[in-house]
Amino acid sequence: MTKIVIDPMTRIEGHLKIETTVEDGVVKDARSTGNLFRGIELILRGRDPRDAQVITQRICGVCPQSHGVAAALNLDSAFGIAGQIPDNGRIIRNLIQGAHVVQDHILHFYHLAALDYVDVTDVAKYDGKDSELNSVKTFIERGELGPFVPRYEGDYRLPPEVNQMATAHYIQALEIRRIGHEMVSIFSGKIPHSVGIMPGGATCTPSMDMITSYLWKLRTVQDFINNVYIPDVLAVAGAYPDYTEIGTGCKNLLSYGQYDLEGGEPDVTKQKRLYIPGVTSADLKPGKLDVDKIAEYVTHSWYEDYPGAKHPSVGETKPNQDKEGAYSWVKSPRYDGKVYEVGPLARLAVNYANGDPVVKELVDSALAQLKAPLAALFSVMGRHLARALCAKLTADNLEKWVLEVKPGEPTYIDNEIPEEATGFGLTEAARGALGHWIEIKGYKVDNYQCVVPTTWNASPRDENGNPGPIEQAIIGTRIRDKDNPYEIVRIVRSFDPCLACAIH
């Protein structure tokens, strides 16, 4: 029996430890531990409810925009103005969130995940004229290789010329994702932690030059997604075919849906969205989302115990790091008592299950190129592929939406803070289902609860001993080399974990 502890789990957001026990080369047990608690839900108490939109973005600097949207939807609902947001405001929220999520997917594949598959040191053998690659070659020749070495060794499978091309794409992707942030900034002032979304709509006054600037930055990003990002994911998946079977996980998928397509619907669960709210499983049959079935356990989390699980509308956060049997700051959200994975795979699978023809075509043709079955979606490479295809689907829709913005027309509806109210807001962050719940008393925040994508994915065991999605995806995996346990880190990174989010 061997114990493998990976702490810190790097190239993710935040503080995560992964602990496994390996027997006869196979992972018998896995524990995912979130290692940073700030208590942002506690900090929100007693504040002006509108501050939630600012404070909750600071839960995470990688995915602030989706917290901004979740908070705004939450406050819209508590303030009684959901369904009254002007179309311009609704569309601009989509443009801000969409640009942010698309750049985040690009960042994840190239700057967080790729170094597990791409050997940058092969650029030392480069003999062409590309100035970027030659500057990397000079960097390698100087001999100080941080932050690219040390690393796990022994399983880089791409030929040198593909590694060189992928390294050039790593550098190009830095530029592309920066342009994605410029798109956010056009309508939202700055990013990370932008200001353009508030309860009531959006704050900017759109003009034609903003629309055209956004459109042409988007075209640059789309070109990259279609001609570089998706082909690179397929190339990596082709070279690491075993990873279309590794890291299967719980096979239950949940999506809250994302990007409101119409105004006028106050009930967020009935909203017509580009990504459809719903659940599905290995059989890819569609299931309706029932918000009442969401509940969080803290049995193995560092919080004061409560009986059973709590719905987030009555959730509580009382830190207790001395609690026996607890091993993480992440709570354990469950849907209908069961373990669910969230993320781009869930978004895509729910649309697929609902028969969305565009998504079916995207998924089927990508899998055909890999000569992989539909079941390959439930894997390390399946998650990377789903992320890339979501980037494409979102970007293609942003192109339509930006032209629907009406320069000079209102983006915002006036609103008042109620003395007492409750509300909730559901959306999808880059990493999956994101929900905020609020209770207002005396015009102030009385309780605020966030259930965040990585809260689902990195959760510890629940009251019934069911491991969380990442834990389940690791358990049962064969580890080829315990000193270089590539399998574990590749599985964990395929979920794109964000621990600042998960715990908040």
Binding site: I43, P147, G189, T203
Partner: protein, 295 residues
């Protein structure tokens, strides 16, 4: 011979927004900063940054601890996030030693004492920021306070902002590489470089004329000064209005939203969308005295 400047970056109670902002550096690009000679003859050797580095777990920690030992007195320590301390220091840990998690408070102390210079990147590391907001559930503290407590006397520069503009981070580092450590007169009382934080937002705000005329926006999207919507520009030191964000694309007030005051020690303790009270407003060249509202 190219000089290699070792840098280690510690993430304490942070959200990684400061690192993402640094990633948005336009000129030099982040690739220029990390791969090329950022200024001729000097290469920044980023040895530890948990969001960027290829290494995992133990091998990553090894690099961190080796740098402290082998590069004693010559490495730059960057910190983002405030640091849980005292009884709740265990609320933020990274890596293990002898089977026990190591707190960021311990890591900071170990790395700070032999650093060439310490950069507190972002408002959390500089002043406590978000985690330290009331009721400060983790007893999170800024770098400066912890260093003073531990008796560590090392050059410290605060680069606040939630997040800081990439130019403020890269500019501060470039200045150290070109001109040496900042002198006392280069920094304000809050240890911020005057080059970036020398003027109030209010002084350079393109909506300043509205303030002087007493023309105030009543809701987002209105024309006018955003003062009554809670703008913190009159008390906030930063060059956002002239530098602008995301490669010069826009800035907070440009998007019709009040400044949140994120480079200030007060952040985030003042309500964001409520009018400032009890502050002495600068009325440089103002026609309006602040005594009456416009008609």
């Amino acid at each position: 011979m190219v000089q290699e400047v070792p840098v280690v970056w510690l993430a304490a109670s942070s959200c990684t927004g400061c690192s993402i902002s640094l990633l948005n550096s336009a000129s030099p690009s982040i690739k220029n900063v990390l791969v090329d000679e950022v200024i001729p003859g000097v290469h920044i050797n980023l040895r530890f940054h948990q969001t960027v580095m290829a290494g995992n777990g133990e091998q990553a920690i090894q690099i961190l601890e080796d740098t402290a030992r082998e590069k004693k007195g010559s490495y730059v320590l960057a910190v983002d996030g405030s640091i849980p301390s005292g009884d709740t220091a265990g609320y933020c840990v990274m890596g293990e030693r002898n089977g026990r998690p190591v707190t960021l408070e311990e890591r900071l102390e170990e790395l700070a004492k032999d650093a060439l210079v310490i950069l507190a990147v972002g408002t959390c590391a500089s002043f406590g920021g978000i985690p330290a907001a009331a009721p400060n559930p983790s007893n999170a503290r800024p770098v400066r306070e912890l260093l003073e407590d531990k008796g560590i006397d090392k050059p410290l520069v605060n680069i606040p902002g939630c997040p800081p503009h990439p130019d403020w981070i890269v500019g501060t580092i470039a200045s150290i590489l070109l001109n040496g450590l900042p002198k006392a007169e280069d920094l304000d009382d809050n240890l911020r470089p005057l080059a970036f934080y020398g003027k109030l937002i209010h002084e350079n705000c393109p909506r300043r004329a509205y303030f002087d005329e007493g023309k105030f926006a009543k809701k987002p999207g209105d024309e006018g000064c955003l003062y009554e919507l809670g703008c913190k520009g009159p008390i906030t030191y930063a060059d956002c209005p002239i530098r602008r964000w995301n490669n010069g694309t826009n800035w907070v007030i440009g998007a019709g939203s009040p400044c949140l005051g994120c480079t200030q020690p007060e952040f985030p303790n003042l309500p964001f969308y409520q009018k400032l009270v009890d502050v002495e407003l600068p009325v440089i060249g103002a026609y309006w005295t602040g005594e009456e509202e416009d008609e």
